[in-house]
């Protein structure tokens, strides 16, 4: 059954379905509706909602709840995520699963509240201290805001690692039909959790490894799970890539504009296809390589000064020319604008 739903609210509906029963957060535009929906819904099913004193506190409350084995989440936007980076590093180091939603707005500093995709480095490459990875999912629709939040909980538990839902102000604020029906989603047992029970008394959650060899071994274990994630968890979508000569790459809201631009450009006779990474980490490197191999050139569009494009270049490693177009400051390119860019790019093809 379809309901008209806001992206931010779909996040909470997904979280409820995934069995998340604790939300700790601090308000910020354009993510606040997530906290507001949690404040409304969580207490109605006996869950916990606390408006923390800061994002620093919220992420550490998340740490506590995750240590107790709960499915727990928080959400914010750039300035809040900057404050959470400390906690995210600890969560990763202590191998605690949780879900963090970043509804990106324009930065740096206070910037403005309009959409950007400029937290890519901070979320995908780390941002906190130490060697760790976040699992990062990038929804492009209201439906995916719910579905990828559910997936984020599953992956977080599977890999005992923070999972980030990385989206932007437009996907968070827009409304679309959401098709969500109740189903049982079982969270795995967490025998390592600290619950204040006789069975869990010996359990210990921490990121301290005082001896170099111990910490190295710990990090090697983490690396091994990250490699497993890279092998098993990449997700992506392709649109009209079959006979494309030009491959455009974009995620989140940009992929939506690109999709319309591809339709339009195809009407104009340009052989262009769209590759949309759904997991930003692990990045769908192999699939992108395959898609790019059939084309002559790759064109990346982002609401940033060029962040994901670095991963595209790494993936293609010089095998295809990679061009970039970015809008920033809260500007989102129109379909016409991107059609024009696609025309330029394809005109330069030989």
């Amino acid at each position: 059954m379809r309901q008209l739903c806001k992206g931010n609210i779909a996040v909470i509906k997904g979280a409820l379905l995934a069995g998340c029963r604790a939300y700790y957060g601090y308000p910020i535009t354009p993510a606040s509706e997530i906290a507001e929906a949690a404040a409304l819904f969580f207490p109605e099913i006996g869950g916990t909602f606390v408006q923390a004193e800061s994002e620093t506190a919220s992420i550490n409350m998340v740490y506590g709840a995750a240590a107790a084995g709960m499915r727990v989440m928080t959400a914010s936007s750039g300035p809040g995520l900057s404050l959470m980076q400390e906690g995210i590093s600890y969560l990763a180091g202590a191998e605690l699963p949780c879900v963090i939603v970043d509804v990106m707005r324009a930065g740096p500093g206070l910037g403005n509240i309009a959409p950007e995709q400029s937290d890519y480095f901070a979320m995908v490459k780390g941002g906190g201290h130490g060697n760790y990875r976040n699992l990062v999912l990038a929804p492009a629709s209201v439906q995916e805001m719910a579905e990828l939040t559910i997936l984020a909980f599953d992956l977080a538990d599977k890999y005992r690692n923070p999972a980030i839902v990385l989206t932007d102000g437009y996907v968070g604020q827009m409304m679309e039909p959401l098709d969500l029906e109740y189903r049982e989603i079982a969270a795995p047992e967490k025998p390592w959790a600290v619950k204040g029970t006789p069975e869990t008394r010996k359990n210990f959650v921490s990121s301290i490894y005082l001896e170099a060899d111990d910490l190295e071994a710990h990090q090697r274990r983490m690396e091994a799970k990250y490699i497993r994630a890279q092998q098993n968890e990449t997700r992506y979508e392709q649109y009209h890539t079959e006979n494309a000569e030009l491959l455009v790459v974009g995620y989140g809201i940009v992929s939506r504009v690109l999709r319309s631009a591809v339709d339009e450009a195809r009407r104009l006779g340009i052989k262009v296809g769209l590759f949309r990474p759904i997991t930003l980490w692990p990045f769908p490197t192999e699939q992108l390589k395959l898609a790019a191999a059939r084309t002559q050139k790759v064109f990346v569009v982002e609401l940033s000064n060029g962040q994901m494009v670095e991963d595209v270049r790494l993936a293609l490693n010089g095998t295809r020319p990679v061009e970039f177009y970015g809008r920033v400051g809260g500007n989102v390119p129109s379909v016409e604008e991107l059609v024009e860019k696609i025309e330029e790019q394809s005109a330069a093809l030989v």
Partner: protein, 500 residues
Amino acid sequence: MARELVGINAHPEASTDGYEVVHSKSEVFYPVYERKTDLKHQTHYCAGCGHGVVHKLIAEAIEELGLQDRTILVSPVGCSVFAYYYFDVGNVQVAHGRAPAAATGLHRACPDKVVIAYQGDGDLAAIGTAEIIHAANRGEKIAVFFVNNAIYGMTGGQMAPTTLVDQKSTTSPWGRRPVNEGFPLHMAEMLSSLQAPVYIERVALSDNKNIMKARRAVRKALELQRDGAGFSFVEILSPCPTIWGKDPVEAKRWVAEKMIPNFPLEVFRDHKIELPTNNAPPHKTVAELIEGKREEAAAPAPASAHHYRELGIKIAGFGGQGVLLLGQLLAEMGMREGLEVSWLPSYGPEMRSGSAHCQVWLSKEKIGSPLVSHPQVLVAMNEMSLRKFASEVAPGGIILYGRDQLPEDFTISQAQVVCIPASEIADRLGSAKVGNVVMVGALLEATECLHTTTAMKVLEAKVKNANLLELDRQALEAGRIYIDHHVAVGAVAQADGFTQ
């Protein structure tokens, strides 16, 4: 690391040459400290360190109260970072200063358990000031043991927020100077200004009598947790002989002579608190919450019946004119009629400053960009919106202007403009608020993009008050009739020439 206060093990298999067994230790301590990398029979604390004593008091209280299987200890960053080496309870180690926040998450996940946040003065009173104040203010049901040794021990003797005036540290090399560093922070007093805490006491490890008081305080704080009574806080003035450069006896004397006069020993709070249980949320099921209201579902009209492939609509006006709602109404109607829809609002301060707009797509196909840069239909509820967005309207499109006539100097060639005195019509119906619904009625009549019956169904689901619903029905009808009687409208042309 040297001799220590509590770590000497009474278990025969753990006895170590050169150490004298002084007393047996609490069963709440591990017999052998396997989590340590070496010297597994003794703690890492220096001789005369207050942490060792506080550990012992806590362990004994946990044992006496029978709480070992119910307790979660949150260890901080500071010399007591390794508390988990010793305590045979559930252990969670956290970031510097964040113990009260992590304890919040833990206790709320395990509401019938005893959660202890153990913190030093740098941890609690500097980097974690916000976390402790707010945990206390929320009345989190946790016990906080605050070891105030007036110095940063772990990092080698830097100034703490509790360092005394004139006290030297590596970062207050001439002694703490209030002119540069301010005065020592009195956490127990500060927290006593809050309503929620049930128990706040300051004790000292200066002599046996005071240590006995400290023992009672620690036990009381844990009893209160056992009983789920509320936030309890024990500040413990504590010697740090190594950093202070004193022997254990001198260090205790320094606590008595220097610290206690600065930090008075007192029970600052000891009362039960009855929390008001007002505004309890109703109970619902997850299915109810995620699936939305049943009645909102309606049998979809065939999408194929619509005369367009896709229709981009922009609606703009003052905040308060119901602009965003108008767009939602159209999107909801489109969804019920089996179309793909999207609704994208202007949001945040822009909205608050008085103007608002939203962009709606109705489409037979999956929607790409939710942005409508060239709307086929513009609903402009005020002059500003008309001037701002009219030039964006696609050739052959239509502008519905919510005033009785266009501004004199306004011209537009690519689109047809229809004026609807929406607020006058709404006023005549008896409520200025339904101006946006008048515009919906007009829009549906002028564009035939969706059915009026669907609009009523959506309104019925949304508007619970029968009088208001009737008003909306009249407003829809009035908008429709206005177009019907006053305006001849051509079909909205599709940009790609699509017609049906």
